[in-house]
């Protein structure tokens, strides 16, 4: 464990009694003494504080100094509309590879004279390599020395407003810089739980003070990676390396909504990103498989790796669970699996759980509706 990285909140996690696990090269809290179930439900009912300081924060600046150049340069790597992304706004996107697979999924914010990109901890190396190789006309720099805290749940707004009075004025996916006790906070109204909330980038030296100040508030409890996973799963959100990877296309993954019309066939800036051939074709003709939501009958979870069959007996598997577990808010098991695209919603498939084929219904995602502030 000696060579694991630590976030700026590591000592705080230990003081809070967290159970620590290795995650993407970091020693991270998987749960606190309250446990995954209570942490999950607390986030949904009031507010949870998550250390996401293991994630990468990357700045992309055009060498010309013109933001329009940076936007068009990034559009060579990302199939989303960035030239049309207003200053102070953020958008979900992904880096694609030549085969139309996903190198990583990311949040991209227009900060006026550069873009701030937040990437998965496990994919920092690949992301930086792809950005540097694909953007010779931009400066690509990982932000050093800043932690990242997510504050999520219906009480997040009131909690943050005590420190940042105009926090309630941020709309969903707005980004901005605010001062707290003279320290620059980079704030976005976004998250990974299906709840309203904020993600706050803070200098490492002040991360613990900010987290403690928030944790003093009656609404806010610390939440570990365990509940982060069950929250995002209920929200139908993908986890890189599980639900999406270098083989899965955004269309197969059900992420077509993130590819704006202007980047699709017939749009003013159609294509021009890696794997455009496959991705635009799948948008027009449909993909060979699709990420679908499953609600297993009964209470037995279908976890990652469970093979899915069309019938109760015989036949070859038609797919595999990529993420699955128990949803504390829906009080039932839930799973995501790649399945043939023509299976209608409501139809029943069977998951092989320890040698028994158990029925599961194909359902729309999210499993639990999101509560964003639009």
């Amino acid at each position: 464990m000696a060579d694991l990285n630590r976030t700026a909140l590591h000592a705080l996690h230990l003081r809070l009694g967290a159970k620590m696990v290795p995650f993407a090269g970091y020693d991270m809290p998987v749960q606190y003494p309250a446990g995954v179930l209570k942490e999950h439900l607390h986030t949904r009912s009031v507010a949870g504080l998550f250390d996401v300081g293991h994630m990468g924060q990357v700045l992309v600046t055009a060498i010309s100094g013109r933001q329009a150049d940076a936007a068009l340069a990034l559009e060579r790597l990302v199939p989303v509309d960035l030239a049309g992304l207003a200053e102070g706004r953020q958008r979900y996107g992904f880096l694609t590879n030549e085969a139309g697979g996903i190198i990583d999924d990311l949040m991209i914010a227009n900060r006026g004279d550069h873009f701030l990109i937040v990437v998965n901890a496990s994919r920092k190396t690949e992301d930086l390599a792809a950005l540097r190789a694909g953007l010779p006309d931009c400066d690509v720099a990982e932000v050093p020395g800043r932690g990242l805290i997510a504050l999520q749940g219906p009480g997040a707004e009131a909690a943050l407003a005590r420190l940042v009075p105009d926090a309630p004025e941020f709309a969903f996916m707005d980004v901005g810089i605010r001062l707290w006790q003279g320290v620059e906070l980079w704030i976005s109204r976004s998250g990974y739980t299906g709840e309203d909330g904020f993600e706050i980038s803070v200098p490492d030296a002040f991360a613990e003070a900010l987290a403690e100040r928030l944790l003093e508030m009656p609404e806010v409890a610390p939440i570990g990676l365990g509940a982060r996973d069950s929250l995002r799963l209920e929200a139908g959100l993908c986890l890189y390396g599980h639900d999406i990877d270098e083989e899965t296309s955004p269309v197969e993954a059900g992420l077509s909504w993130a590819i704006q019309k202007i980047r699709r066939t017939g749009g003013a800036r159609a294509g021009g990103f890696p794997g455009a051939g496959r991705i635009l074709r799948e948008l027009a003709e449909g993909p060979a498989r699709k990420r679908r939501g499953l609600r297993p009958e009964g209470r037995a979870p279908m976890r990652e790796g469970v093979e899915i069959y069309a019938g109760e007996e015989g036949g070859a598997p038609i797919g595999r669970v990529t993420s699955g577990g128990f949803g504390p808010s829906i009080e039932a098991p839930m799973a995501m699996a790649y399945l043939p695209p023509d299976l209608p919603e409501g139809s029943t498939v069977y998951g092989d759980v320890r040698g028994k084929r158990l029925p599961a219904r194909i359902v729309p995602m999210p499993f639990r509706p999101a509560t964003f502030k639009r």
């Binding site: 179930l37 365990g226 069950s230 209470r299 979870p301 976890r303």
Partner: protein
């Protein structure tokens, strides 16, 4: 009460042995959301997988500590799997089994030895 190295407890009730998991095991598992119990009447050998516990984190197997026959299972766990966390040594029991020779329990740890094991 006796204890196994797999963090199960065994308690004799008449000529039956009741089996559950220890508080230590229940804490390590985290919140239990589903318990897959065997059918009553099943004959088991020592080391057979007889129960699967699904927690919010993972699935874990419970092995039969002795050879014998499962004569009863705790049906309350079907609706309230959280009993395993709330009362692991009592209401959270898994099954009762009939064994050929109760003296086989002498080979398991007593409470002091188990406490020493988990530190």
């Amino acid at each position: 009460m006796k204890f196994t190295e797999d963090h199960e407890w065994l308690r004799v009730e008449g000529d039956l042995v009741i089996v559950g998991i220890t508080e230590h095991a229940s804490e390590q598992l985290g919140d239990v959301v589903f318990v897959d119990l065997p059918a009553a009447g099943r004959s088991v050998n020592t080391g057979d997988e007889v129960v699967v516990i699904e927690s919010v984190k993972a699935a874990s197997d419970i092995l039969a500590p002795l050879e014998g026959e499962i004569v009863a299972v705790n049906d309350a766990l079907a609706d309230t799997p959280a009993l395993v966390n709330e009362d692991p040594l009592g209401a959270g029991w898994f099954f009762k089994m009939k064994v050929a020779d109760l003296s086989a329990l002498d080979g398991f740890m007593d409470e002091a030895a188990y406490k020493a094991l988990i530190g």
